[in-house]
């Protein structure tokens, strides 16, 4: 493969013409015609389920479009599979890294080639890589294991890998979701310069308006599978973009905030624990959540939020410190959770809070199957499980083909509603939530946020961990920022400053 030869060919334009994709009766993509000019950054905006991923999967050859054509460099092409897309110079960088952590950057690059020889002449390859890197506007250390890279370096390597493979049109799928704001700016800056230099065309999938405004030349907006708007970024305002994305849908208004915080419910003092890797520690010196308030923990994923959730749910042991709920020591046993009415809503509930193979009826019964009034029961009552589940399904509008169907057959929003129904039925003193709206559509998001606010207003102490700063700003009374396993910053929501929070998330004082 002549890596250099391909790069010199420069950026290519891509155009979809009347691209339509049907899955059974559902039209996921409805006659989308979109032109991405060579050497530009083109942003693709849309809600979850708007058809963004279907569109790029059609372009990359993962799906065969029901109707419509794809033009690459002005010629109509057939892309029956991802391999042919790669041959045309189309590449994709996924939201999550596809690097081998234990290998060095150089090794990752060489093995990613389809024509990597069975025996690799490392000296020759390294020489070629050095020349390649010398031509790039940014580099990464070639001889270091990817494991030691920061998230930003990994994302840069992913982009370098695509260039090394000779790709001239890149789809970046939410490339900054695991980066700090500074890293995100740096990576997108490099991407932009590559495009301006005419080496690359980029289709940037994102839901951050800020990135669209700062980095993209043009933008297209999808809603319910249809292209609802496009234009030059300079001609549009954020408000225009938001209106295009959401349409005229009436969303549940953010619930009003009523009442004032009461007595402390959760207090964490001097807690120390190891993190996932076992190499770093988490250290929470003082954290208090009072009745009737929502405390938000902001932070980039991987800064100890998951570990804090695991400590609170009893999945991770602590080496020091005290956790108290309602003034009594709390060890996350079922009895303590029941006495103090503590409920949890972990992220990705299907994988962290449900048994996918068990039925909906059984899954929503996890909190109460062993309760008979206030006493314990030994014999399982299927009838009671069923009637409780029917009540919850009605109250929380869980939509399922049947409540006897396995939990895994429900859509994401309905799994979240089912788990919320289970955890919010009855009086709740303390609710600990992590990323409750990940991957849900706007209606489900609005409904779930309203339920959380309603719980707060009725006197529940809520601890909300979220990677979505907008969610934190909308819901919380107080904001904490978690960075490197510590609480790095605290302020009231009224005085919260987005820029300051962003800096603290990145670990800058």
């Amino acid at each position: 493969m002549t890596v250099d030869g391909r790069l010199q060919a420069g950026a290519i334009g891509v155009e979809t013409v009347g691209m339509t994709m049907r899955f059974g009766g559902l039209t996921a993509l409805d006659a989308v015609s979109m032109r991405i000019a060579p050497g530009t950054v083109h942003a693709l905006l849309g809600e979850n389920g708007a058809g963004k991923s279907t569109l790029v999967k059609c372009v990359m050859g993962f799906y065969r479009a029901t109707r419509g054509q794809l033009m690459v460099g002005g010629r109509e092409v057939e892309v029956p599979d991802p391999k042919s897309a790669h041959a045309l110079g189309l590449g994709m960088v996924y939201q999550h890294f596809t690097l081998v952590p234990s290998l060095t950057a150089a090794e990752n690059l060489v093995i990613s080639r389809e024509d990597a020889p069975p025996v690799i002449d490392w000296r020759a390859e390294m020489a070629r890589l050095e020349t390649f890197m010398a031509r790039m506007p940014f580099t990464v250390p070639l001889d270091q294991a990817v494991r030691t890279f920061s998230a930003g370096e990994k994302q840069k390597l992913e982009i370098l890998k695509q260039l090394y493979l000779g790709r001239r049109f890149l789809i970046l799928d939410e490339p900054t979701s695991v980066l700090t704001p500074d890293e995100a700016d740096e990576v997108l800056g490099h991407v932009r310069r590559l495009c301006q230099a005419g080496e690359l065309t980029v289709l940037l999938i994102t839901h951050k308006f800020r990135e669209v405004m700062a980095c993209a030349d043009e933008v297209s907006v999808l809603r319910r599978g249809a292209l609802v708007g496009c234009g030059r970024v300079g001609d549009l305002t954020r408000a225009d973009l938001a209106r295009m994305m959401v349409g005229d849908d009436e969303l549940a208004e953010p619930a009003p905030r009523t009442g004032v915080p009461g007595a402390p419910v959760l207090s964490v003092a001097g807690v120390r624990a190891r993190d996932r890797s076992g190499l770093k520690g988490i250290a929470i010196d003082a954290l208090e959540v009072r009745a009737g308030e929502i405390v938000g923990i902001a932070g980039i994923s991987g800064n100890g939020q998951m570990e804090l959730m695991e400590v609170l749910t009893g999945q991770r042991s602590v080496s020091a410190g005290r956790i108290r709920v309602n003034g009594s020591p709390y060890g996350a046993t079922r009895r303590e959770a029941r006495v103090h009415r503590v409920r949890f809503l972990p992220e990705e509930p299907l994988h962290n809070a449900c048994v996918p193979r068990m039925s909906v009826v059984e899954n929503v019964g996890f909190r109460s199957f062993d309760l008979n009034g206030s006493g314990a029961r030994f014999w399982l009552s299927t009838r009671e499980l069923k009637s409780r589940a029917a009540d919850m399904a009605a109250a929380f509008r869980i939509r399922a083909a049947s409540l006897d169907a396995p939990m895994s057959s429900l859509s994401g929003g309905n799994v979240q509603r089912a788990v919320l129904a289970r955890e919010l039925t009855g009086t709740v003193d303390l609710l600990v939530i992590s990323n409750p709206c990940f991957g849900l559509d706007l209606t489900a998001v609005a409904e779930i946020r309203a339920r959380i606010m309603a719980a707060r207003n009725s006197g529940t102490a809520v601890l909300l961990m979220s990677e979505d700063l907008d969610e934190i700003m909308e819901l919380t009374d107080r904001v904490l920022v978690m960075s490197e396993g510590r609480i790095a910053y605290e302020c009231t929501a009224a005085r919260a400053d987005r820029a300051e929070i962003g800096r603290r998330m990145g670990g800058h004082a």
Binding site: F23, G24, G25, L26, A28, G49, G51, T54, T313, G314, Q315, A332, T333, R334, R335, E336, A337, R338, F344, P346, H351, N352, A353, C354, V355, P356, R357, M358, V361, E362, F366, R367, F369, D370, A376, R377, F378, W379, L380, K386, A390, A393, A394, I398, R399, A400, A401, S402, L403, D404, A405, P406, S408, S409, S411, G412, G413, N414, D441
Partner: protein, 366 residues
Amino acid sequence: MGRKRGGIRPSDSSLAVLARRAEAVAVPAGALLAGLAAFSLFLLLLGKSPAEFYALVYKAGFGTWFSWQNTLSRTAPLLLAALCVALPARLGLVVIGGEGAIVLGGLACGALGGALSGLPGAVAIPLLAAAGVLAAGVWIGAVGALRHYRGVNETIASLLMAYIAIALMNHLVEGPFRDPASLNKPSTAPLAEHLRIGDIPGWDVHWGLVAGIVGCLVSWVLVERTTWGFAARIAGGNVRAALVQGLPVGRLVVGFAALGGVFAGLAGVFEVAAVHGSANASLAAGYGYTGILIAFLARHNPLAIIPVAVLLAGFEASSGLVQRRMDLPDATVLVLQGFTFVAILVSETLYGRLRVFTPETWGIPR
């Protein structure tokens, strides 16, 4: 992209219920047939007639009252050994060392038999059974504890501990516990006549069959109809979900593993007290390993273990006749078991994929 669904339907129609239930029967039954078909090809390669083979298996396993009694005698330890796989499996543990628990259960019973021979049978037999059951329960319970508290792979640990148990038995029956009168086959002293467990009246089958069937029924009720069983199913299905619910996962893992060991130990007790009369190397007869196959065929459902164990016991009962009549080595039945087991493991990938068994996909176009 949520697929469009109908409104709330509180529960399944009877057809849908039937479809969900049928999956658990049809898939293993299909796998069993596929295993038998593959084995038929193997026989054809050897130049033998599959038809003759299956006719002989039927005759020797199920053809006459005599062969039924032979089959049912072998069923008893298989039922109990299968429970030693099925119960931990509901917690997500793959325990394959039931053989060790059988051996230890039998050894404890045989070793204590002499000391308790002064007591009347009605007192001594329960004590012997308790000793065997306790030893085996602790053994497999330890496998569960190693897994939960130290992260040791339970499959490997249980297999290696089975080897340790067998070596321990060999050491003890050849050394400290050896009956000097046992010359060719080192054994513990034979149990006194009044400590033996006899046959079910009118049958040539010992009481172990009843114990095994009762064990299966009790296990089914425990798993499906009690809150403990429900908690175990949560922990087995997703341990993170169980921890978030504050369920005592450690106690459940150790408890269910130990209960599995208890049943396997009971099999060893019956082997000594009802079949061999003393503990010796015959205890390691491979029932523990056939139990693995049975539990997987029964999808770890204690009720389904009963018919599957009878079927597999029939296969084992026929190995002698097959060997004599068809001039096949006695390992032939093991080959058959192997084919079936591979088919079962492959069939695990079919669950939830066949539309006819998944009512929630009905009416959604492909």
